[in-house]
């Protein structure tokens, strides 16, 4: 039995919590990667948003590849100029038949995950070995400039090849529509399937990264290196190599976040920049170098942002002369957190303080 709890207020609150967790998922995944790179290599990576975007474009590219079509002329129909119509049949449909072929195209986004993992590991590896390696000993300002420049280059390359407009990359048909999450606890609140999947997907990725760092020897070495790189090196362990691999993993995490995000919002070339600034705020609020802090702050700021865009909340803040609270809430919270806890929510002493 579904009833309207408190005039639908409870429904609305539940929906905004879900929205917040969903937004927070993307923030947390990107911030997690940023923190991994900062913690291991000590590099502030402004190209991390671009990695998120590259991940999304792995899905776009796979879609393009899957829909590569054989062009045949249908003389019975005409195109907009009155010439015979060119009919496109995707090769996959030709090879695997109508049913299977279309199903493969339909499942493009989940399939893109398999493609994106090796690509992103490789992109991360090349980026670290090819460019960022040369900036370890340089000041943070230089690192920010070079990675920011790199982000712009990647962005423009994507725009030159894919255009500036968003490219629709839908989820498989089974996941279109929404599920009444509220019904589980006696409320009425439908939430889109794919957004729920995104949330659980990111939770499992975050879990996997934490487990990897905690329960494997590799992870133990990396954690030790994060605390004292020099000593680990003196023990005869090639820590640089492991850090390079961590960079690849961080790139893959951002890339997967991007792949899975494509059905939520059609990807375009500047989606990375849109997330980058927020993700940095998330890292700072969570505490530089703290992995749990990044995840916690990601979800926290996501939820705050969602609630701030509710009409009731906007109205309240407008009444106390703070209009457009939805645009500034994250920065406002960041200021308050940094004033009261200068190291962020879970930051440790000694990080970025030398």
């Amino acid at each position: 039995m579904i009833y309207k709890g408190f005039d639908g207020t409870m429904d609305a609150i539940l929906l905004q919590i879900l929205n917040g967790l969903d937004k927070g998922s993307a923030y947390a995944l990107i911030a997690l990667g940023l923190t991994l790179i900062f913690g291991t290599l000590g590099v502030v990576n402004f190209a991390h948003g671009a990695l998120f975007m590259v991940g999304a474009f792995c899905a776009v590219t796979l879609q393009k590849v899957l829909t590569l079509s054989k062009i045949s002329i249908d003389p019975t129909k005409t195109d907009f100029l009155g010439n015979p119509l060119k009919v496109k049949t995707p090769y996959v449909v030709e090879w695997f038949g109508e049913g299977t072929g279309n199903a493969i195209i339909d499942w493009n986004v989940p399939l893109a995950i398999l493609v994106a993992i090796p690509i992103m590991l490789l992109v991360g590896y090349i980026m670290e070995r090819g460019l960022i390696k040369h900036f370890y000993k340089r000041p943070h300002a230089d690192q920010i400039l070079v990675t920011f420049g790199l982000a712009i280059v990647i962005q423009e390359l994507v725009k030159a090849n894919y255009g500036a407009n968003p490219i629709p990359t839908p989820a498989p048909d089974q996941f279109v529509g929404s599920y009444n999450v509220g019904a589980l606890i006696g409320l009425d609140a439908s939430y889109p399937y794919w957004r729920l999947i995104y949330f659980f997907f990111s939770i499992s990725i975050i879990g996997a990264v934490f487990a990897f760092l905690r329960f494997t020897t590799f992870g133990m070495v990396v954690r030790a290196g994060m605390v004292d790189r020099e000593t680990v090196g003196l023990l005869g362990i090639n820590i640089d190599r492991r850090f390079t691999i961590m960079f690849g993993i961080a790139a893959a995490v951002a890339g997967l976040a991007g792949v899975m995000y494509t059905p939520i919002n059609s990807p375009n070339y500047h989606m990375g920049m849109d997330f980058l600034v927020l993700s940095f705020v998330v890292v700072v609020v969570g505490g530089m170098g703290s992995l749990p802090g990044a995840v916690l702050a990601g979800f926290l700021l996501g939820i705050l942002e969602s609630f701030a865009s509710m009409n009731e909340v906007k109205g309240f803040f407008e009444a106390i002369y703070l209009p457009s609270i939805d645009q500034i809430i994250i920065y406002l919270v960041a200021i308050i957190v940094l004033l009261t806890r200068p190291r962020g929510l879970m930051g440790k002493a000694g990080v970025m303080e030398d």
Partner: protein, 445 residues
């Protein structure tokens, strides 16, 4: 230098400072107006978004401009010059001068757009500036052109303010506006969805969003609709879920998305994801309306646009002679049909050239006089008039719907109704347009 005193220095410094602050640009004592063409050619400035979120629309505008220049100089098949009711243009450039052009990048940022327009006027000697894909930018550049003394032929700008409270004597808009969208859409919406509806508006928080929302609200309320809420969304929003979720429990049965471009794609996608279109509220099917459609953008929203109503300035599937000629000429050159952005910018260029021919000068005051009250036909929108009072074109408006069964990747929208001009017309001092002053034409120099 005996009179080189402190007081003298301050005085001359102030004079020089005032001179620098003056917006008059390259001044020549002989020319009666800014950038009067002296050689055998005339330069036009195409100021379009070549980077930033509207780069694809900018690219289409540029294609149309190049096509227009080709036609003006006598190349190609002549396109709409053949169907245009005025026959002043001869295919030998404008007033016998070969048409050349320079391009600028607005980046869809007001300051960047002003800077590139200024550079085209000052450095390249552009005698007319045209283009753009945002009302914020159009209003900023229009103001600059008024000060500089050149004509501004607006591109894609839909805010009432462009020819309303921010109208300028040197600025002209062929594109339609928010009021016209409301006036054209409301009767169609009433016919399809009835007159007992509760509408919830999500509105982009800048000049275009505000005026369109106001227009749609007024037009639909006149048909008996009730407006439940209007929520302003920041232009930079990418995930609209937190704005869409409250709609579910608001009691509204229609969602109006006063969004354009990336905002429109993302908000519409969110609304569809949240299952709004499958809802039945107040015993009525929930409906979504996108008052301003762009085919280029509708493609980005994919399946989600199917069956959704909106309005548009022009569509390539129109079958009048002008549209057919334009689609043929554009399609053969580029291999795909033109967008409404390409159409309006092409028409603006031809209209400007024609006004120069008819007035016999490039002087902005002469051109403006020739455009004011000018009535023409054969440019794809039927009988059209450039109203003298506010420099707004009045013509039929298209009500369109996302096509259910598209036959090609360009076949995204279908024309539901061609709303006659009389239905979308308003008085120049209408409340939504009042408060501005056209001022006097400025020839600059």
């Amino acid at each position: 230098m005996s009179n080189f005193t402190r007081r003298g220095l301050i005085k001359s410094g102030a004079t020089v400072g005032a001179g620098l602050a003056m917006p008059t640009l390259i001044t020549s004592p002989v020319a009666a107006y800014t950038n009067a063409p002296t050689g055998g050619s005339v330069t036009l400035g195409f100021n379009v978004p070549q980077s930033g979120p509207y780069a694809d629309e900018g690219a289409d505008e540029l294609r149309a401009y190049k096509l227009a220049v080709e036609h003006l100089n006598g190349g190609g098949d002549g396109g709409m010059m053949n169907t245009f009711s005025s026959k002043a243009l001869k295919g030998n450039g404008i007033l016998g001068k070969k048409v050349e052009y320079v391009t600028g990048d607005t980046q869809t940022k007001s300051d960047a757009a002003r800077a590139s327009a200024k550079s085209m006027i000052e450095k390249d000697g552009a005698v007319m500036i045209t283009g753009g894909s945002s009302s914020g930018v159009a209003i900023a550049v229009q103001g600059l052109c008024q000060e500089a003394g050149v004509i501004f032929m607006a591109g894609l700008t839909h805010s009432n303010d462009t020819t309303g409270k921010d109208k300028k004597a040197n600025g002209f808009r062929h594109f339609f506006n928010g009021y016209m969208s409301g006036a054209a859409l409301a009767p169609v919406l009433e016919a399809r969805y009835g007159n007992d509806r509760n509408a919830y508006h999500l509105t982009a928080d800048y000049t275009w969003g505000w005026t369109q929302q106001e227009s749609i609200q007024a037009a639909t309320e006149a048909k008996g609709w009730n407006t439940v809420n209007n929520v302003l969304t920041p232009l930079a929003t990418t995930d609209f879920s937190s704005y869409v979720a409250p709609v579910l429990n608001s009691g509204a049965d229609v969602l109006v998305l006063n969004h354009y471009g990336g905002n429109m794609i993302n908000s519409l996608t969110s609304a569809v994801q949240f299952g709004l279109r499958d809802k039945v509220i107040n015993n009525k099917n929930f409906e979504i309306v996108v008052p301003l459609y762009s085919r280029l953008m509708a493609r980005g929203a994919g399946e989600n646009v199917k069956g959704i109503f909106g309005s548009t300035n022009w569509h390539w599937s129109l079958t009048d002679e002008g549209s057919k000629a334009f689609v043929k000429s554009f399609g053969e050159k580029y291999g795909f049909p033109p967008s409404q952005a390409a159409h309006t910018t092409y028409v603006q260029t031809i209209l400007y050239a024609d006004a120069c021919e008819r007035s016999g000068t490039f002087n902005p005051c002469g051109v403006a006089e020739a455009l004011e009250g000018f009535k023409f036909d054969g440019m794809g929108n039927g009988a059209t008039e450039y109203r003298a009072e506010d420099h707004q074109c009045f013509k039929d408006v298209l009500v369109v719907k996302g096509k259910e069964n598209p036959t090609s990747e360009f076949d995204v929208l279908e024309v539901v109704e061609i709303t006659p001009r009389a239905q979308v017309e308003y008085a120049p001092d209408h409340a939504m347009f009042a408060g501005g002053d056209l001022g006097k034409c400025n020839p600059g120099a």
